[in-house]
């Protein structure tokens, strides 16, 4: 039965109809001998070698060749489109919560639609539309949020009533539904044929395709890809693209220098049936019932239905394993709950005859987002894998972005959420991946609410104070493997358990965080911020200063002991990183960056710093515990502990000094707090951490000191209009666009990266502006809370999206941060955004379809807080991302 199915899906069609690319690769032989293995020998060299002939590999090849890179070889260990791609359910769905994924799916849809015309290969493309069902109000809210972002992208989409659902799909039982979302342009394809169509087009453009060729490993010299070893010989190449799907992890580990690609396969089941008595129309919409954990599409007059069960079965943990491959059988007992959900949703299908239960492994990643980009350790080594079972939806767009990345140096959109460099080696332990994907796969269907933390793979990196803080009621979240405190639950307080705390409304920790914020404003709080990435860069001569001056936009040639906030910009002036750099001595610098910059920033510096043995860079993240003392009394605590005057005359803002605290010497104290509040950050060698913490807490008692967490910090920084890198700032945002000209020294006497772009912006104006919105008619207790990604409307027209939000306990209002664009009313063309344009608009923020009035502010502002401190204007930096 299995064999029959495979043929049905793809084989027969493409072999017979489209031998074209095959003939091109097998030059001397006629097309009738296609079964002959290895008709042509491999080329000795190529510019690009792609490993993997699934949807990802063929899409990358297609886009590379379209962009003019034709010296490309695609290698497939078996047959083209014969892996996961062949088994893929073929649903192209744009209903994605993450905006970049949504864009990829949208592009894929448009691409597939015209692919048949372009290539002549039948792709089975059928615009059926999709219906996502909501069994609960919370689910409906999450659908409404997606609908809002689809609408502003111009993708038709509507929230419909259960009654309307029946009109669209007569088989659906609607009795338990509260609503649904209808996306009429979603489509179905034969995924294998899409792959073959892409391969055919690529082949016509000159890409060489070789089947039955296994890549054994990649050779890397001096940090650059030099070639690929295969079972049929070696190919010298400049670029390698790992599109090996579920084998990408293993392939990444096969070379001498491992490339960590954190993904793990799970078994995935779907059901195929014979046609109904009255065969289902091939234009019937696809149904997604996330609360039932299933999807249902029409398939050859019958249905195809699968789902994401609560108890997934991970496999290939120990690598490729013939035994496990053979054991990939139908497991009906495992499928039983999904079958139950299917029959509940479509009771009329009881009498439908089963054809087969297909078991096709899918690969999942630690954060449910796919993996693309260049290896931080091997230049020219690119990756595109880990599709979390949405490969066909992402295939087109992901291939396009990766091709742009290779050809232009960066894709046309911000893909940081998908960048391989968001992970480090720490996410690539097999045990971690196995446990994490067992959590991730069920999450595919779970409600995605704000402030969700993964529960598996925790307590990996911790501060030395972890146990102390935990004993005091700390609740934890994780960033880049590091445990960070969200807030402290006072003794006697009981919060809801995890499942019940999921909400789109006011969360149960509201008052707890409120009191932490109050303490930061009125007394002093301690926040453990040890997770920040910390580098030390030094040199024997002036190399360090010179190199850093080139890489950073602010002037680093400051007196020793000064701290500088600066962006690390790319050529287009966009933020690759946003950091604080302290000049420790003439020749050494201490650099603090966001937690998830550890891999990316290191790779960026390695790439751009001269290869000079006198220039030393060290990752000292693990060496220091960072305690942030926030609040007006921080100065009192610290001066009592150090017997040193800490007042503004002696210790001005943005200053760094090594001093003793308690018995401990050599504590790096910096007068920054990342919040705009007064205070200090103490960088403490880890063995002193407990001592200093104890001293601070003891001494602080009389000043009302208490512990605080990142939620308080977040509220503080957002109400002060501080931007986070990774959330608000990205590689497509320049300092000019977020009111940070003062952190750029255009005339610092030497060139720096991004300078030209900034000069041009200064001349011509910016096309978006970072703006703060204070919600006016929003009821904190009763209304939905903003999160991020909410559309912003100016005078009723869409102008951009929010990037972060928080409740400001000081203003007693919600604050959203986001970018405002200016689209021409007629052409949609982007126009320059002036401060006047911002100030003269009436604004609304759309939260799940409901619009709230908002007041817009540009940075810097003056009237918000009665007690304004001068240094607020100087210090403008925040690193945290939720």
């Amino acid at each position: 039965a299995a064999r029959m199915f495979l043929r049905l899906l793809s084989d027969v069609q493409w072999r017979a109809a489209h031998p074209k690319w095959r003939r091109m690769t097998s030059s001397q032989r006629s097309t009738s001998t296609t079964a002959e293995p290895h008709p042509v020998s491999l080329p000795a060299q190529a510019q690009v070698v792609i490993c993997g002939g699934g949807i990802m590999g063929t899409s990358v090849a297609y886009h590379l060749s379209k962009m003019g890179w034709k010296d490309v070889v695609l290698l497939e260990q078996g047959r083209l489109a014969a892996g996961t791609t062949r088994f893929c359910a073929g649903i192209v769905s744009t209903a994605r919560p993450v905006s970049i994924e949504l864009k990829m799916a949208h592009y894929s849809n448009k691409l597939y639609q015209q692919l048949e015309q372009e290539t002549g290969v039948q792709t089975g493309y059928m615009k059926t539309g999709s219906i996502s069902l909501a069994q609960t109000q919370d689910r409906l809210i999450s659908l409404k949020r997606i609908a809002s972002s689809l609408n502003v992208m111009g993708i038709p989409c509507e929230i419909i009533s259960p009654k309307k659902v029946v009109q669209l799909h007569p088989l659906i039982n609607i009795h338990d539904l509260v609503g649904a979302m209808y996306v009429p342009e979603d489509a179905l394809v034969s995924s294998a044929n899409v792959s073959l169509a892409l391969a055919t087009a690529a082949s016509r453009n000159g890409v060489q395709i070789h089947e039955r060729t296994s890549v054994s490993h990649i050779t890397v010299q001096k940090g650059r890809v030099t070639g690929v070893e295969t079972d049929r010989g070696r190919i010298e190449c400049e670029y390698f693209v790992n599109c090996a799907g579920q084998w990408a992890y293993e392939l990444g580990h096969s070379g001498e220098e491992p490339v960590h690609i954190p993904l793990h396969a799970c078994e995935h089941f779907y059901l195929l049936t014979h046609p109904l008595k009255e065969p289902l129309s091939s234009s019937l919409p696809t149904v997604v019932d996330p609360d039932g954990r299933i999807y249902i599409r029409n398939w050859q007059g019958g249905i195809l239905s699968g789902g994401f069960e609560k108890n997934p079965k991970p496999l290939f943990t120990e690598g490729r394993n013939q035994l496990e491959i053979q054991n990939l059988q139908e497991d009906w007992d495992h499928f039983a709950p999904l079958l139950g959900a299917l029959l509940r949703r479509m009771p009329g299908l009881e009498a439908l005859q089963i054809m087969q239960l297909v078991n096709c492994p899918e690969s999942f990643t630690p954060d449910m987002r796919c993996i693309m980009g260049e290896s931080p350790t091997a230049r020219g080594y690119f990756v595109l894998a880990g599709m979390n079972s949405a490969g066909i939806s992402y295939g087109g767009g992901a291939g396009k972005y990766l091709a742009e990345w290779m050809v232009n140096g960066y894709p046309s959109e911000n893909v940081w959420p998908l960048d391989l460099k968001r992970f480090g080696t720490l996410q690539s332990s097999r045990t971690f991946l196995r446990h994490r994907v067992m959590e991730v796969m069920p999450l595919m269907c779970d409600l995605k609410v704000p402030r969700w933390d993964f529960q598996t793979g925790r307590q990996l990196r911790t501060s030395p104070l972890y146990d102390r803080l935990d004993a005091q009621g700390a609740r934890w979240m994780e960033k880049h493997g590091f445990e960070r405190v969200k807030y402290f639950v006072p003794p006697g307080n009981d919060l809801l358990d995890l499942d019940h705390s999921k909400t789109f409304y006011k969360p149960d920790w509201f008052d707890i965080v409120g009191s932490e914020v109050k303490c930061c404003k009125e007394a002093v709080c301690v926040i453990d911020m040890s997770s920040f990435t910390k580098f030390e860069i030094s040199s024997t001569g002036d190399q360090a200063l010179e190199s850093l001056q080139y890489l950073f936009s602010n002037d680093l040639d400051v007196p020793v002991g000064h701290v500088v906030h600066t962006g690390m910009l790319n050529e287009k002036g966009g933020y690759e990183n946003d950091c604080s750099i302290a000049r420790l001595s003439k020749r050494s610098f201490f650099m603090i960056s966001p937690t998830d910059q550890q891999v990316h920033c290191w790779a960026w510096l390695k790439k751009h710093l001269p290869d000079d043995s006198n220039l030393i860079m060290e990752d000292v993240t693990w060496k220091y515990t960072a305690l942030n003392l926030i609040g007006p009394r921080a100065v009192d605590v610290l001066s009592e502990l150090s017997y040193a005057p800490m007042t503004a005359e002696h210790f001005p803002s943005l200053f760094c000094k090594e001093m003793s605290v308690g018995y401990a010497n050599g504590i790096r104290v910096m007068s920054i707090t990342h919040t705009g509040e007064p205070g200090f950050v103490l960088y403490i060698p880890i063995e002193y951490a407990l001592h200093v913490y104890n001293e601070v807490m003891n001494m602080g008692q009389k000043y009302g000191i208490r512990n605080a967490g990142y939620y308080a910090l977040r509220s503080l920084r957002i109400e002060k209009f501080f931007a986070f890198w990774g959330q608000d700032l990205d590689a497509f945002t320049t300092p000019m666009e977020c009111g940070r000209e003062f952190q750029v020294k255009l005339e610092k006497g030497m060139q720096f990266l991004g300078q030209e772009a900034l000069l041009e912006q200064k001349q011509n104006g910016v096309y978006k502006r970072f703006t703060m919105f204070i919600l006016e008619d929003h009821d904190t207790d009763l209304d939905l809370w903003p999160w991020w990604g909410e559309p912003i409307f100016r005078n009723g027209r869409y102008v951009g999206k929010t990037t972060s939000s928080a409740y400001s306990y000081t203003l007693e209002r919600h604050v959203c941060l986001g970018f405002v664009h200016h689209f021409d009313e007629k052409t949609g063309e982007e126009l320059v955004v002036t401060p006047d344009f911002i100030n003269q608009g009436e604004y609304e923020i759309d939260i799940a379809g409901q619009r709230f009035q908002a007041k817009a502010k540009l940075y810097p502002f003056s009237s918000l807080f009665t007690q304004r401190r001068r240094k607020d204007e100087v210090e403008l930096s925040g690193y945290q991302r939720e």
């Binding site: 039965a1 059901l271 049936t273 059988q329 139908e330 497991d331 009906w332 007992d333 499928f335 039983a336 079958l339 139950g340 299917l342 029959l343 299908l349 009881e350 009498a351 439908l352 005859q353 089963i354 087969q356 239960l357």
Partner: protein, 458 residues
């Protein structure tokens, strides 16, 4: 009066405990996957005890069941103390010295055992100091005796058993100024307990048994069927060798009175036991201790009663019989249980029930659609039925609970009869003891892969 299935389950599961051994604890790979244990009381309070612990200073794991009689005091004391005596007996000289030095200088002690306890398995707080002092005296003697030889497990087990029984006896003779403790040590000494203890280290399995609890190995034959291998001999009247031994140890004149009605001196079922000083001390010693003891002891008819034909004590010993077995890959599990189980079930049945439970044979063959014509509705019905069946048979998450369910509820066909189970469990306290005894079971599951690997190494 009828108990519903959930009520039955809550009774059966009240004392269940499971422990999964981490595959790799940082030092070595364990041949044990984990164990399940449970107990069902018939006496009120229950007189059985159980213990399980991992040796931290040497390798291996200790598991044991203890069946008390004439009260639970002795079984309780043995369950708390015996593993420490065994662990100490196994320790190398240097470790003993290290521990002694730590105690001497008031430093923190190396942990010796990691206990795996059900919340109902308690340790006596009041006696811990007393117990500790006795244990310390023991290791001090071991230090003085330093033979320089590596410790043999068999010898260690025998020494530990004998030493603990000796200490129990001594503590009762010496007494304690604290009246509560004084009464406690006397109750411990005048009650009794059998012990069946397993020590597992790699493929070396040692069973030390004193009394009529039993250790049984579940072996899976090549054809998949299950068989039982005894790893202990009952010390009671049914065991000829045991009767022979007792007779050898006493003059011919006592031959007739030694074993009467299958009991030692016509009174005691097990022929070996901890405590039971009434069968160990001279009459004079018994009288002296009772007279100087607290009033409660004097008022107790049982303790004051001297066994008939009591001429040449001791009649009873705590010395265990030790059996060593090298584990093989086909050895899948070990059952340690008090006689409450073995009275109701044959070991072959025990092996089969546990074996099938652990391997999930009842999980039937997987379904394959193959060429059959099956509709979604039919398949759904079939799967629902399968799940219902599985959940009724395998509602137990614990092999020991599963075994108890069978032991108490089995009908003549060897399947669990809910009505019978309900009746047996709802017996009033005073009747329960007449229909069944306390049952305590530990099921240890072995890791065949690890055992196979060990074998290959040897």
């Amino acid at each position: 009066f009828y108990l519903t299935p959930p009520q039955v389950n809550s009774i059966l599961k009240a004392n269940e405990y499971s422990f999964k051994v981490p595959e790799f604890d940082g030092k070595n790979v364990s041949s044990i996957l984990g164990f399940d244990s449970n107990q069902l009381p018939a006496n009120a309070p229950i007189e059985d005890r159980r213990s399980a612990a991992t040796c931290l200073q040497t390798r291996g794991m200790l598991l044991g069941v203890f069946d008390g009689h004439a009260g639970c005091a002795c079984a309780q004391a043995v369950s708390e103390r015996l593993f420490y005596y065994i662990a100490v007996s196994l320790l190398p000289h240097e470790t003993l010295l290290e521990i002694e030095n730590a105690v001497e200088s008031g430093r923190a002690l190396l942990p010796i055992l990691q206990w795996h306890k059900h919340p109902n398995d308690y340790f006596s707080k009041e006696a811990s100091k007393l117990y500790f002092n006795s244990l310390r005296t023991y290791w001090q003697e071991l230090i003085d005796l330093n033979s320089g030889e590596t410790t043999d497990v068999r010898e260690a087990l025998i020494n530990a058993f004998k030493r603990l029984d000796n200490d129990i006896s001594l503590e009762a003779q010496v007494g304690d100024p604290n009246s509560f403790l004084n009464y406690l040590v006397l109750r411990v000494a005048f009650s009794g307990a059998t012990a069946c203890v397993a020590h597992v280290d790699g493929i070396d399995l040692h069973i030390a048994n004193t009394g009529d609890s039993r250790a049984m190995l579940g072996v899976q034959e090549e054809d998949g069927s299950w068989s039982a291998v005894n790893l202990s001999y009952d010390h009671n009247a049914q065991n000829e060798h045991e009767v022979e031994r007792v007779k050898m140890e006493h003059p011919k004149s006592e031959e007739k009175s030694l074993v009467k009605q299958d009991r030692l001196l016509g009174l005691l079922m097990p022929f070996r036991a901890f405590g039971d000083v009434k069968f160990k001390w001279s009459i004079e010693l018994q009288k002296r201790v009772i007279e100087s003891g607290p009033d409660q002891l004097n008022d107790n008819e049982y303790t004051k009663f001297i066994p008939p034909n009591y001429h040449t004590p001791p009649y009873l010993t705590a010395e265990p019989e030790v059996i060593h077995h090298k584990l093989r890959p086909q050895d899948k599990f070990l059952v340690l249980a008090t006689d409450g189980l073995w009275e109701t079930m044959h070991r072959q049945d025990v092996a089969r029930i546990v074996g099938e439970y652990l391997t999930g044979v009842h999980h039937q063959q997987p379904i394959a659609v193959g060429g059959y014509k099956v509709t979604l509705g039919q398949m759904h019905g079939l799967l629902t039925e399968r799940r219902a069946r599985i959940s009724s048979v395998f509602e137990d998450q614990n092999a020991a609970t599963h075994l108890i369910r069978h032991a108490v509820g089995n009908n003549e066909f060897g399947t669990v009869d809910h009505e019978r189970l309900s009746k047996m469990l709802s017996l009033p306290e005073e009747l329960a003891r007449m229909y069944r005894d306390d049952i305590t079971i530990i099921v240890v599951q072995f890791n065949s892969h690890v055992i196979g690997a060990y074998q290959n190494e040897e």
